[in-house]
């Protein structure tokens, strides 16, 4: 048990530190890397808590897709060295930045929300038992999700597949442009060439040369 709590504290420390580093680091690319580190350590926490499906989904979706997308956007927009104006605005040194009060307000709201949630949970413990889900504890939760996803919710599973297909078609329709005059390699043509069509003997005139453009 002691190892479990040691790991828990290590991962949560990494998560908190990297979450802070996301906001304070000057380099935007570093911010994204810290975000990825944050996601990874949180997914480790999920796995330790027995929610291995959620942890893996976190890894696949957030790290594999969202964070990489962020990285692409940051690189494309070329905002790597963003001015650090969190603690003071550069333009007018007298006025302090307007980010601080807003950020403070939002953090206070989230903090109070957390207090409310935890308070409700502690004061009314029967709330969490009111769900009448029949959970089979012998199975891992990936198995359990699989059992309902492919039986009771098969129609929704299939429809979401169609939605993803349509979104893919839509993205291709709206962005794909056929380039004219693009040279492509055709293996069939290359292999089926023979000597008679590929080689041509030319009579080269003196001091004139030949044009070999085809």
């Amino acid at each position: 048990m002691i190892i479990h709590s040691i790991f828990f504290y290590i991962f949560s420390l990494i998560a908190i530190v990297s979450a802070i580093m996301v906001t304070v680091s000057r380099n935007t690319v570093h911010s994204v890397f810290f975000l990825i580190l944050d996601f990874v350590s949180i997914s480790c926490l999920f796995i330790m808590g027995g929610a291995e499906f959620l942890g893996m989904i976190m890894l696949i979706v957030y790290v594999g897709a969202v964070a990489v997308l962020f990285l692409f956007v940051v690189m494309m927009l070329n905002v790597t060295q963003q001015e650090n104006e969190w603690f003071q605005s550069k333009k007018s040194k007298a006025k302090s930045s307007s980010h601080i009060p807003i950020g403070f307000l939002i953090s206070t709201i989230i903090f109070f929300e957390l207090i409310i949630v935890i308070g409700g949970w502690k004061l009314k413990p029967e709330l969490s038992e009111s769900f009448n889900l029949s959970v089979n504890n012998d199975l891992t939760n990936t198995h359990q999700i699989g059992y309902v996803l492919y039986t009771d919710y098969i129609h929704l599973f299939q429809i979401s597949g169609m939605i993803l297909l349509v979104s893919m078609i839509g993205a291709i329709v709206l962005t794909y442009r056929k380039k004219e005059g693009l040279k492509r390699q055709s293996y069939i043509k290359q292999i089926s060439r023979d000597r008679s069509s590929g080689v041509e003997a030319l009579e080269v005139e003196k001091n004139k040369g030949v044009s070999i453009d085809v």
Binding site: D152, I154, H155, L156, Q158, I159, S160, M162, I163, L165, V166, S167, I169, G170, I172, V173, L174
Partner: protein
Amino acid sequence: MINLNFVYPEIFLSISLMVMLLIGVFKKESSNIVYILSIFSLIILLVLNFNLFDKREIYLFNEGFKIDFLSTFMKVLIISSGIFVMLSSSIYLKATKIFKIEYPILLLSSILGMMIMISSNDLIVFYMGLELQSLALYVLASFNRDNQLSSESGLKYFVLSALSSGLLLYGCSLIYGFSGTTNFNQISLNINEVQYGLTLGIVFILVGLSFKISAVPFHMWAPDVYAGSPTSVTMFFAILPKVAALTVFIKFLYIPFINLIDQWQIILIFLSISSMIFGAVAAIGQENLKRLMAYSSISHMGFALAGLSVGTNEGIQSSIVYVSIYLVMNLAFFSCLFMLKRNNSYFENIDDLSGLSKNHPLLSLSMMITLFSLAGIPPLAGFFAKFYIFLAVVKEEMYFLAIIGLLSTVIAAFYYLRIIKIIYFDPEKEKFDSDHNIGLKFTLIISTILILIYFVFPSSLTNVISNINIL
């Protein structure tokens, strides 16, 4: 054991969609083949759906799907209007150089989403269907991506629709929180008293739904998107999503929340009155026919909502009749728009119609019939549509709603009649092309004849629809 044969239409549509995608990827220059194949698959879908016409109610997937007469009828409406939209718009697509394989595939996937929406009996299924259809519609709106207006309309639709989807999801979560289930039948069982959280949830979902049918005050996107997107997509926008969203309106209000009718009735009456008045007044100043149709569709949706706000079976039936006649009129009007072509460019301003009757007497005749019908002048189909609505509204003694409806009909008649005046009495302009393909002519002729002879057999439609008894 799940009876999969009741979802054969959906399964067939998704498989044929993927097969056509593969054909389009591996075969070069296959736009034509894919287009024709998708029309054929829609026809097969229609036949498959006709097999389901049954008065039984069938629940599938843990009651997540419900196949009944209402859903089958609405699916038939959607699929047949999808066929006509595709038949009439192929020339337009070729002329504007957006005849790609993805176009019919996106149309089909949007229809698939609508079918899921229509047969949904669960908040999650409903939301997934809604997302599927609107995701395809975002792309379709900006399909002519080299055109600035089209890209703008796609982006505008995407941003606003995503916002409304967010509100709708928030409403779903509230309803789930207060009733403990997402299933429509279970919700109606679990609701015992009025809870403010539930009312709030209903309001949020109504916001999302009225955005989809562009009812005032959630209509802001409609004129820009209608005017900006390619005309074939506008035609699609004006017909199919509205039918689907209206069905969801009916299912959502009358299955889980029928006991809370006092809570939502006033909202629906407000939506209906404001849409009728705004659609009628704002269309007066429009010069672009597509923008005008956007406002006209807002006003028509107001009438359909008036039928729903009554809270009786008759009201529901009248608004279903309304929406079926509305889609026929829109098919006729937009196929007239497709005929205004000169040297591969299309005209969509009211001025371009001036003196049309001298050069194209038949086209202007069918346009006149359509416009008279849109204005609700007897004995055309549009009159009967409004008549049934007023009948249902007056029967429940909601005179205020009926009077507002009548007044807005009078106002709206002005701009329809103005177009007819421009067509028949203004100086003529250059001739338009007259080499239209057979599908376009077929659509126009069928829809005009349906509008014209509806008064001979008014009971044939109402008899079918009278099988829909939700309450």
